[in-house]
């Protein structure tokens, strides 16, 4: 019972379905199910580790230098980007060749940056949310939210790209309408 409630809560706070964050990335990655899952996994790594970095940046900058937040977030994500690529390179050359494209697509996009800014916004509203643990949890939750959205889109991927769909709506427009109707259902649960 609690698990179902948690899943519903995760859906209701899903950044793609409620804030459209990372939709472009989802569509770019929607070439195949494998791509979708790969991108979703890398984005989870970025949102989780990025949120830890965001915590330290927010602690250092405070509200006085908030205009610099984006610049520092960008630098932090850049460091993570290089770090992740280097790590993958040393773990396995084969894996590096296979998975680096997911890292390139996932590093700078609305899903990752949007997550960091949403977490920052929530933390500015409640002091309880301004802890490293809370940042990390929120980052991980956002990543899982992306995975859920990716699975929801992957389930209909074949149908949305089928030749039965009118050519003008095939692919991207049909995906948008599909996500819109799912998002409408999520919205009605609020």
């Amino acid at each position: 019972m609690f698990l179902i409630n948690d899943i519903i809560a995760l859906l209701v706070s899903n950044l793609i379905l409620t804030q459209a964050l990372g939709t472009s990335t989802l569509f770019i990655a929607a070439g195949s199910r494998k791509k979708l899952i790969g991108t979703a996994a890398v984005i989870t790594v970025f949102t989780t580790s990025g949120s830890a970095a965001a915590y330290f940046i927010n602690s250092l900058l405070g509200s006085r230098y908030s205009d610099l937040t984006l610049l520092f977030y960008t630098i932090a994500i850049g460091i993570l980007y290089v770090g992740l690529l280097t790590l993958l390179y040393y773990i396995s050359r084969n894996a590096f060749e296979k998975y680096r494209k997911y890292i390139h697509v996932s590093a700078y996009n609305c899903a990752v940056m949007g997550t960091l800014f949403t977490i920052e916004q929530n933390a500015s509203l409640s002091a309880e949310a301004f802890t490293l643990k809370s940042y990390l949890l929120s980052g991980f939750e956002a990543g899982i939210g992306f995975v859920i959205a990716a699975l929801i889109l992957a389930a209909a991927f074949g149908k949305l790209n089928s030749s039965k769909v009118p050519s003008s709506f095939r692919g991207f427009p049909a995906m948008l309408v599909y996500l819109g109707i799912i998002s409408m259902a999520v919205y009605s649960l609020r």
């Binding site: 459209a20 609305c110 309408v177």
Partner: protein
């Protein structure tokens, strides 16, 4: 003679940032519910994208791809600061309205990923022209989306009451944005394919000897 002209202006219609290339969707869906939001986003997007891409074009191409991408993103984040400060001076309410989508514009795919594929292969002057059309393409979509959604969801045009009896408030919500953009994109594709077909037919008719 036609080809370079098409390349330069293709960002407006044929290769529209939002409708064809499905980039920068989130701000259109989330903030494109009123004309006022649309204007604020148009200002932010146009200023940040134009300045960032122009400045990024000076980054040496001999650097590794990852480093170049990071530099583009850092340049855009730096450009964001004066753009935001200017907006704070002239349209302070716009920043609050757009919220987190303001900084997100700085890391849009047009600046970070598409610069290499689209713009940096051109000469600088051509690039500036093409970039302006890409930006205008986004601006047009944003304006149409803002206008239609505001009219149907709130019954107003740029904040002034319009005579609308029947309102669909869901259109102002994120799901309304998803569905509207999906339908808009499909209709745009339909019109474009019909226009291309008509043009081809006219061309083939013209080629038929008497």
């Amino acid at each position: 003679m036609d080809k370079p002209k098409n390349t330069l202006t293709s960002g407006l219609l044929a290769d529209n940032t939002v409708l064809s290339a499905c980039m920068v969707i989130s701000p259109v869906i989330m903030c494109g519910d009123t004309l006022q939001n649309a204007f604020a986003l148009i200002y932010a997007f146009s200023a940040i994208t134009f300045l960032s891409v122009m400045l990024s074009s000076f980054v040496p191409r001999s650097l590794p791809y990852t480093v170049r991408i990071i530099i583009y993103a850092v340049i855009a984040s730096a450009v964001y600061i004066p753009v935001k400060l200017l907006a704070q001076e002239f349209y302070p309410e716009s920043i609050e309205r757009i919220g987190i989508y303001y900084p997100l514009i700085a890391v849009n795919s047009l600046i970070v990923h598409q610069t290499e594929v689209r713009f940096f292969r051109m000469k600088r002057l051509n690039m500036a022209g093409s970039l302006i059309f890409y930006i205008l393409g986004f601006d047009a979509v944003m304006l149409i989306t803002g206008f239609v959604r505001e009219l149907l969801a709130y019954g107003t045009i740029n904040g002034s009451m319009a005579d609308m009896d029947f309102l669909i408030s869901g259109l102002s919500k994120p799901f309304g944005g998803f569905i509207f953009l999906g339908l808009f994109c499909g209709i745009y594709r339909k019109i474009r394919s019909a226009a291309v077909r008509q043009k081809n037919e006219a061309g083939s008719e013209a080629n038929v000897p008497d």
